[in-house]
Symmetry: C2
Subunit: 161 residues, 2 copies
Amino acid sequence: MSINESEAEIVEGPPEELIRWTGFLLNWVAAHAHEAYEQVVAQVGLKPQHLGVLIQIQQGPMIQARLSDRLKVFKPVMVTLVNELEAMGLAERRPHAGDRRAVEVHILPAGLDKVREVERLSDQASADFFSPLDSTEQQTLHGLLTKLAKDGPAGPWQGLR
Amino acid sequence: MSINESEAEIVEGPPEELIRWTGFLLNWVAAHAHEAYEQVVAQVGLKPQHLGVLIQIQQGPMIQARLSDRLKVFKPVMVTLVNELEAMGLAERRPHAGDRRAVEVHILPAGLDKVREVERLSDQASADFFSPLDSTEQQTLHGLLTKLAKDGPAGPWQGLR
DNA sequence: TATTGTTATACTCTATAACTATA
DNA sequence: TATAGTTATAGAGTATAACAATA
């Protein structure tokens, strides 16, 4: 048995050398938040993309091409996603009156239930995730991230997409 | 290539419906930060993983198996990465005295130069990215993220890995 | 028997191409 | 000519299997 140092890393924190960089910390924390979210979605038997579709059509039907645009996935991927949602009885395709090429994707009652359930579970997961911060700190974090999200792409990389 | 209808969405901000959720914001901002970092690394002709290896061996050589562990990539991936680093003249394999199965991966002068260059470029990119925040706000953000990174995995998802 | 490095292989995701039927 | 949906295919990226050499 090789008693290397790899035994001590059962519970892993961020690498000590890198935590001084805010950019690294940002990615590290976000990765773990996303992991927690994926866990929640998987708990109800879905992938994040399924939920993305359900949320989009929650208020009303949408044609597939539009769903592809909104979720930024390619058309063949959307075909598969909608197929799977139909197979699970969470959504269904209906012909689009006025344009016989297009199909509308409608949410079904079971789909609405799933959305509600995920919202409930992810609210809980979110509360747990941010629990190391008190209420004021959470608001501060939200404010800082909002600033970065809104004013951020005004930086030098704006021309890159 | 398809010339799509999306004329109005040239500069994209985060989806309005989702910015209330801190978890979403966190991921959105982090994704853009990571994108900026990838741009920087690509600028010097590397992928993030290449740089990960170079940084690990910056202080001294390391055997491949250990590099696989540290960077959490599978062994065949590390073989490819080291092959590429050798082809670029940034690192080289040397036999490991005492264990003839293992090879040490050493950084070369050109590799050190690359690391320095990326550090310089990414410091600049980081400064640009966080420029919407003043110095105090940046420190606050760093503190909040540190709290989440250190105390975060004490939450209910700690058992998941 | 376990570990190191390697090759070969499989699987998943993402991205294009090609085709039909409409418009 | 362009768009909507579908099928088929190509390509990265990730993960596993199997192997020879060594411990």
